[in-house]
């Protein structure tokens, strides 16, 4: 989603970002002053149940500091990193910091998008100035309250770890001063610390949300029960066998015999069975007999798509990046290759679910959503209400990887529709089969590249054609992210490559298959990095050069990328001897404002790929929480390895052929390599962390296998 920023009104290039963020702080301060008054310091413990909290921060009389986190927590650590930003400036006692997920509300909008969303690895980046300003403003108010109490000059007071300290040694806790501070006006111009003075930012900090996740007490969306929502029912939905098919006729007599089943409801995209519990709903769902009208549905066949995509790739598509590739004809050497990647399901561990209670003039939703205000608006339409009549509670989510950021709000509006018709509160539960077969996949792509070298082994031209579906076309994001027929996410990582390529032409054939597609951890970079970085390896070989040296020769204008590559190579012992049967491969890629390089060591064990070790280097600007950064890079590598080694959704006559973890395999513990993460020291504003570790891993493995066997793998998942 980097391109989303770049095409938006406010550009997101590194330097401009600081300015844009600074401009956005105006919005934050308004956030303090929404109806309900200036409630920065909330004296009473909890707001009334139906009151929307109107601040990012609550300081209670007991001194506890609660930060409302506007983004979804789904593993990436925002419930810790965003409070760290606040705490840095607030100067509170870290042990008293709590973290809550904010509900859907305008004041919690992403500072770049104007919507409350989590994506594009931008949670820390867009909160960087905002959350520090929240902390700094609150600190000034607490100091003012202390100074007024002691009748001393504000300038002579300071803070220390949760206390305001006066010139004569007076000392009051933040909790004691919270009520008085609450009566003050929020300052509009606060000075933020310089990086050299950071005490919290940059300190490896354990996760605030971990204790509740090791004793079973954390409540995920799927864990909403009648405890939270009285009379809660469960719905399981039968979706069409092929995408786009419609119900022709429905036979539900057997379902009514299942004890506990209360409703059978035909929806826009299937038939829901509602019951007192999951098992009854699932049993009922499995007894439905539906005659489907397959007419409008997708009859996509993977075999045919492969053929037609490769055919399309032979011709230049719509130009995404213009370049003269005539010089290929006179190049000293050329390499031509075709690549292919399949549809991929996100398969988060927590299957999709959504709890909804619809009343005459209100609707309440409990959901782990990456798109809170988008889903809130979509739910309002289905419920026949205004968005402000819909209360959306953000629940922690068991992974998401993009699936919970759907511009169509599919799983949310389905739940609202069912609850509206059932007239009881309903939790929809997707089975794993519903999830794997449910569409909204990372699209399938084919690439064709023809690249040439001059006699000195420098790249002279690069003709690159991408074939695949648009993620953005037909969604509300289209005006922002599709320009002149080019979906920016289809070619990101190619059209804007940091490599110095004199004549680069990138073109795109946008296809239609009827299979719903969506962003998947690192979006376009999932396939473009694979192609770019294996192609660079092939070219290095043709040029007779070392793969690291060859890349560096083409990174003259991008020292930051070159430095990250150098760090990974250095830490991995690039060029040193490895045991027999083990080979190294390297890849580097920039995404979401961050550069990540990886050197892998790979062997083959009876024909099975064994990734022994990954050495990663990352430059993501200021390392806010180094512990999270290394965790996210490990995570992104594991996620990318699942796709490199196993991941594949295929279709036959429109029917998805996979259904669960036996035929849609993912990485397990024995496959997990040793991972070292080296974080580049930086004072630049933070950039993305959740996704940039995924793109380099597949090409690095392919490159290592090439070094090991001489055989080049250009299709994912790898078949050796």
């Amino acid at each position: 989603m980097k391109q989303l920023f770049e095409n938006a009104a406010i550009p997101m290039k590194r330097r401009q970002f600081l300015k844009a963020s600074a401009a956005a702080t105006g919005g934050l301060v308004i956030g303090f002053q929404l109806p309900g008054g200036n409630k920065m310091a909330q004296a009473q413990a909890a707001p009334a149940p139906n009151m929307t909290p109107n601040a990012f921060l609550r300081i209670a009389r007991d001194g506890s500091v609660t930060v409302l986190v506007k983004h979804l927590e789904f593993g990436q650590g925002v419930m810790t990193s965003l409070p760290m930003l606040v705490a840095e400036e607030l100067d509170c006692d870290w042990s008293k910091v709590r973290s809550e997920l904010a509900p859907a509300a305008p004041q919690f909008a992403h500072t770049m998008f104007g919507m409350q969303i989590t994506g594009g690895s931008s949670s820390v980046a867009n909160s960087w100035t905002q959350m520090r300003t929240v902390g700094a403003a609150a600190r000034m108010m607490l100091i003012s309250a202390g100074a007024a109490k002691w009748k001393v000059d504000v300038a002579k007071c300071r803070t220390n770890s949760g206390f305001v300290i006066g010139p004569a040694g007076q000392k009051e806790s933040f909790g004691t001063l919270a009520d008085a501070a609450n009566a003050l006006t929020v300052p509009t111009n606060v000075k933020l610390k310089e990086a050299k003075d950071f005490k919290v930012i940059g300190k490896p900090t354990r996760r605030i949300d971990a204790p509740a996740k090791v004793n079973g007490s954390a409540i995920f969306g799927l864990d909403v029960t009648a405890k939270q929502v009285p009379n809660l029912h469960t719905a399981v939905v039968l979706h069409p066998p092929i995408f786009g098919a419609k119900v022709k006729s429905l036979e539900a007599s057997k379902v009514n015999g299942v004890p506990g089943v209360t409703h059978v409801i035909q929806t826009a995209n299937g038939v829901a069975v509602v019951a007192k519990n999951f098992w009854a709903a699932k049993k009922g769902r499995d007894l439905l007999v539906v005659d489907w009208d397959l007419g409008p549905g997708s009859k996509a066949n993977t075999v045919d798509l492969r053929k037609s995509y490769h055919e399309l790739a032979q011709k230049t598509g719509v130009i995404a990046k213009a370049g003269s590739v005539e010089s290929l004809k006179t190049a000293a050497k050329t390499v031509t290759a075709e690549y292919e990647v399949p549809f991929l399901a996100h398969a988060p561990m927590e299957p999709l679910n959504c709890t909804v209670s619809v009343k005459a003039d209100s609707c309440e939703i409990w959901v782990g959503s990456q798109f809170q205000t988008v889903d809130q608006g979509a739910a309002a339409k289905v419920a026949g209400l205004k968005p402000e009549q819909v209360k959306l509670n953000t629940m922690i989510a068991g992974g998401g990887f993009g699936r919970r950021a759907n511009p169509t709000s599919d799983y949310v509006i389905e739940a609202v529709e069912i609850a509206r018709e059932a007239k009881v509160p309903v939790k929809t539960v997707w089975t794993r089969e519903d999830d794997i077969k449910g569409g909204y996949y990372r699209p399938m792509y084919v690439h064709r590249v023809n690249a040439g070298l001059d006699a000195a082994g420098k790249i002279v031209a690069w003709d690159h054609t991408v074939v695949g579906q648009s993620i953005i076309a037909g969604t509300a994001f289209e005006p922002m992210m599709v320009k002149d027929g080019i979906d920016a996410t289809s070619v990101e990582g190619v059209a804007d490559t940091p490599y110095d390529i004199p004549n680069l032409q990138a073109s795109l054939h946008t296809t239609k298959t009827g299979v719903p597609v969506l962003w998947w951890r690192s979006v376009g970079h999932t396939h473009t990095a694979f192609v770019m970085e294996t192609m660079m390896d092939d070219l290095a070989k043709e040029a007779g050069k070392d793969p690291v040296a060859f890349r560096r020769e083409h990174l003259g204008k991008h020292p930051r990328v070159a430095n990250v590559l150098a760090l990974a190579a250095d830490k991995a012992g690039w060029g040193t001897t490895l045991p027999k049967g083990v080979a190294r491969g390297v890849a580097v890629h920039e995404s979401y404002g961050t550069v990540c390089a990886q050197v892998v060591e790979v062997s083959l064990d009876k024909g099975k790929i064994k990734v022994e070790r990954v050495v990663a280097a990352i430059d993501c600007g200021v390392a806010v929480n180094p512990l999270t950064i290394s965790a996210q890079v490990e995570s992104a590598i594991a996620f990318g390895m699942s796709a490199a080694l196993y991941g594949q959704v295929t279709l036959k006559d429109g029917v998805v052929e996979q259904s669960n973890f036996h035929d849609y395999q993912v990485l397990r513990i024995a496959d997990m390599p040793k991972v070292e993460v080296h974080v580049m020291s930086s004072t630049a504003a933070p950039s993305g962390v959740g996704e940039p570790g995924t793109p380099p891993i597949a090409p690095a493995i392919s490159n290592a296998l090439f070094a090991l066997t001489g055989k080049r793998l250009r299709e994912l998942p790898f078949k050796v």
Partner: protein
Amino acid sequence: MIRFSVNGERIETDVAADTPLLWFLRDNLQMTGTKYGCGMALCGACTVHINGEPSRSCSTPLSAVSGKRVTTIEDISTTPIGKKVQAAWLSEDVVQCGYCQSGQIMSAIALLTKVKSPSDVQIDDAMAGNICRCGTYNRVRAAIKVAASGVDAKPMAPAKTPTAKAKA
């Protein structure tokens, strides 16, 4: 009527005998620490102990637990090994999204109950049935070793994370 115990409490129920233990725990007892991930004993998110053995509750019908002792994540801190494992999970900052971790922890406790100091291969074997899409596997391994070491994990001990400067 099916009779068994959950975390030491006696249960008597006439819920349909084919109901998986997982959904009885979650929907009837409203104990949601045990998670649904696949329904086919493929991912391990639903792991509980039945008479001390790690078991996938999503594929265990109530009829199969008649007369048995079921232990879930909610009660595991009452045992010394359970306590150690949870502390190690915190000290190693294992969790990310956290959804699979109840199952990971239940499998780890079952391993450490049988093998005091497991090797990497023993860890991989015991944990093979537990999927983590966040890829916390290395920290799972590290936490099991910390728990096995017998040293009390120190949740607030400074963590090590390499920070490096680029070579010129």
